[in-house]
Amino acid sequence: MRLPVWACLALLSSVPIAQAKAATRPHYGGSLTIELSSAWSTLTESSALSIPITETLVRLNARGGIEPALCVAWQHDPDLKRWRFSLRQKVTFHDGQPLNGASAVPSLLGALKGKYADVSIQAGGQAIVIQSGEAMPDLLADLASPHAAVFRQGDANSLTGTGPFRVTAWEPGRRLVVAAFDDYWGSRPYLDSIAIEFGAGHARPDIFDIPAGPARRILPEGIATWSSAPRILVAITGPNANPVLLQALALAIDRAPIVNVLAQRRGEAAFSLLPQWLTGYAFLFQSAFDVPRAKQLVSQLRPGPISLSYPANDAFLRSVAERVALNARDAGITIQPTSTAGILRLGELPLQSTDAATELARMAATLGVGHIDSSKPDTLYEAERTLLDRVVPLAFLRETYGIAPRVHIESSKSDAFALHLDDVWVQP
């Protein structure tokens, strides 16, 4: 599904600071240090910080349109069941192996099998043919997803892609170091290397995340901030919970204090699974904070105490869980927040792409729902409405980062959805 024009405008308009010091010419070289409060356990973690280690066959441009990446051309039959892609010439993986059809097939097949069960991929030279018994109208959007990145799986601590940065050191949960890939087929990134430390400890990082929640960090002099578009859904999921109970809970929770106070205004209230900027119809799900109606629903159910789990060591989600419990108590629902397993689960569902159908399908899979029809906006809306029986959306959060003064962001690729580090350069 292509991103609508208004959504592109919304994304562009939400770029908050874009400290694009246009008057300064970009500088090549230098290293960037990043400090993140949450640790990555894999190299494919979803984050607004985009480190291009791998690439996809196609990608979404700033306007939401599909443009070539590792492939240069594609064509399909009238039924959209057979697609042929021509791969870019002279592209090499970080280990020096050339990119061709055969080397791209394993990762692509792994990415597409989940959605298209009978998909098959044939490779011949620099061409690959993707076939399926069913029509694949969203194949380009699927291939633009980070999940469809082309890579060669090396050992457990390595991810060999074709992107402008290559992994030089990876200690899961502790440290990641990438360096500029000199044989990159495109333009070289500005930075020579990027070092990411997980957990506090670095004296003066160039970029650091400002997590949502009560732990306020006093920003040093000159530090700017960059915030993404609302891209992390905070929601309560309860696949096995009574839908009426979830409906009562949704009515009982006052989302404004969660967004304004707990998230310190770094987000917006959520009543849908996908944000308004992504679908354009999210406002249709908006409902009022209505405790009397919630009480009415609860009086029919007479529920017992319900446990609500949140990730251990996540202070923000714990405070949200406690607020939810407080609101629920006003409606007669006893919620018991717990960091262990519970009937209901409070968690963050980050968006991984800017394609609504892809994201909704991924959420449906997360919630245990099978295939959803996303061919048209109205069916997408219906699918989301169905999924909302199992989810209580609370807020869409932005990712916010502190940016040191020597860091500059070129705006060629970066948008409000992700901060592309190959667009970043540092003042010597």
Partner: protein, 550 residues
């Protein structure tokens, strides 16, 4: 209940009761002593609690004052000078509470909205209306208050301070918990336990071995918020009481054992002569009047034995005198009867002999005729005398019965046959004999001759009772291993007083009777270990009933 048992119970009861009384008195005195000690300890603890409570009040006031004066709170208050955005301060109370070691701290805006809460961070945005609804808390300084928490309720020592915030006030309400930890910090004596029960707390079972003192704790509106419960262990008292009870039980058991021994000894000393006396009484009762009780002591029991012996001696003497008197009376009666019976025939004999003498003197020619007539008269009267003497001889010679199986119905039938000729004699009174004999009457051990003689006398008696004829009924029955023979007439019957004397020897209601017939019947029945009864009604007849063992 035997005398020995009574003695045993008396001694045992006395011992147990005495021990119980002593144990109860000692136990009561010990209890009172412990209660006085507990009261003193409780009073000391309450005073200590009050001092500690006052100290904490001062401390809470000082710390909340410090929070109020802090830069953060002053900066927050300045926020209200314009459009207030307090969202950034929602975690402020936790930091400030931690700095001042306060358990409770809430920063509340002029509109009573919680800006930040340390004890329940999620409650920001909710109202604390009590702060603005009334200013009564101002006069109380530091007070007790029930605080709502996410996991329930808690009791706090709370105070409120205010800071000028725009046109209104910023309220700083803070305090410390009044909880078990606080109570545990109080120096209590060993065996004391202090608990705090809030209104919503479920009261756990208080140790039954403890005395409990409850002190109400009230809030700013004098409402009861909690109860301070002081438990004084009574373990020592209970242990001492158990020791006393155990000792008493042992002493009591020893008393019972002693009572058992004493009762046996006393009973053997006291009841031995009594048992001998009782045995003597039983001997006398069965007729051994010569029995004497042994006199083994000079006490009351010895006196009783002596009196008993004196009594039996008097009874023997009286019996002998009575027998003698009865013998004399019997001989007199016999003499009187003999004189009476013999007098009647003797008088005609005397007249006849005198006639013979007069005839021989006055009319010798008629003497022969007179002699013949007189001799026949003499012979008749002498025969009469012989009959009388024979009857007395029969009564005197009544032999012991020789028992053999006798068919009762057969005896009755044979006796009826003896009288059939008399009953059917023409000119005699019309008597109809009726036999009502039970088929199962069977046999009885009896002397057949004596039994026939008894029945004969009864039949004669019945016939005498019916001079004008009537019905003579012979009836036999068998019941409960006894055989009854009844002979009934429908003559004139007898009066009750006549019935009472009927079997007395020489008593008769007939002019020519000797009074020995029914006496002989009773003698026969008695010798057969049987009984004879009479039932009679005047004008209806008389029934004699003989019962013999089968």
């Amino acid at each position: 209940m035997s005398f020995r048992t009574k003695v045993f119970l008396s001694i045992a009861a006395t011992a147990v009761l005495s021990v119980w009384i002593v144990a109860a008195v000692v136990s009561t005195l010990v209890t009172q002593s412990f209660e006085r000690r507990d009261a003193q300890r409780t009073a000391a603890l309450v005073n200590q609690f009050q001092r500690e409570f006052d100290r904490r009040r001062v401390e809470v006031a000082r710390r909340v004052e410090a929070v109020t004066d802090s830069d953060d709170v002053q900066r927050l208050a300045l926020n209200f000078g314009g459009p207030a955005d307090t969202s950034a301060y929602f975690a402020e109370a936790q930091t400030l509470a931690q700095e001042q070691s306060l358990d409770f701290l809430e920063l509340v805006g002029p509109d009573a909205t919680i800006i930040s809460s340390a004890e329940w961070p999620a409650r920001f945005g909710y109202k604390e209306d009590w702060l603005t609804a009334s200013s009564g808390w101002k006069s109380q300084g530091v007070f007790l208050k029930k605080e709502d928490l996410a996991d329930g309720e808690a009791l706090g020592i709370i105070t409120v301070r205010t800071v000028k915030a725009g046109d209104g006030m910023l309220y700083v309400a803070g305090g410390r918990r009044l909880d078990q930890e606080f109570l545990d910090s109080l120096p209590g004596a060993e065996g004391m336990r202090v608990r705090l029960y809030r209104q919503t707390d479920q009261v756990t079972r208080v140790n039954s071995d403890a005395t409990v003192t409850a002190i109400p704790l009230r809030g700013r509106d004098k409402q009861l918020l909690a109860t301070l419960v002081i438990e004084n262990s009574r373990a020592d008292l209970v242990a001492l009481k158990k020791y006393i009870q155990g000792t008493a039980a042992i002493v009591g058991a020893a008393g019972v054992l002693l009572g058992l021994v004493l009762s046996f000894w006393t009973a053997s000393r006291v009841t031995r002569p009594l048992r001998g006396l009782a045995s003597s009484v039983r001997e006398v009762a069965i007729g051994n009047w010569d029995t004497r009780a042994a006199v083994s002591s000079s006490d009351e029991i010895g006196q009783l034995a002596r009196d008993f012996n004196g009594m039996t001696e008097q009874l023997v003497e009286q019996r002998d005198r009575m027998i003698q008197a009865e013998r004399v009376a019997a001989w007199r009666e016999l003499a009187r009867r003999l004189a009476h019976e013999l007098k009647n025939p003797l008088f005609p004999l005397q007249i006849t002999i005198e006639n013979l003498q007069r005839a021989r003197d006055a009319s010798p020619e008629q003497f022969d005729e007179v002699f013949r007539e007189s001799t026949s008269t003499l012979l008749a009267e002498l025969g009469h005398l012989k009959t009388i003497i024979g009857r007395f001889s029969d009564f005197a010679k009544m032999p012991a019965p020789e028992l053999e199986p006798v068919n009762v119905n057969q005896i009755v039938r044979e006796e009826l046959q003896l009288f059939e000729a008399q009953l059917q004699a023409p000119g005699g009174p019309p008597v109809k004999a009726i036999l009502e004999l039970a088929e199962d009457a069977g046999e009885v051990p009896a002397d057949p001759d004596q039994l026939r003689r008894a029945l004969h006398n009864l039949v004669l008696n019945a016939l005498d009772a019916m001079p004008h004829g009537g019905g003579l009924v012979f009836r036999t029955t068998r019941h409960d291993n006894k055989v009854a023979i009844e002979i009934s007439d429908d003559g004139d019957g007898l009066a009750p007083e006549e019935c009472d004397r009927l079997f007395t020897p020489y008593y008769t209601t007939k002019q020519h009777g000797t009074g020995l017939g029914l006496a002989i019947v009773q003698s026969v029945v008695s010798d057969h270990k049987g009984t004879i009864t009479v039932h009679s009604e005047l004008g209806k007849g008389t029934t004699f009933r003989i019962e013999l063992k089968a």
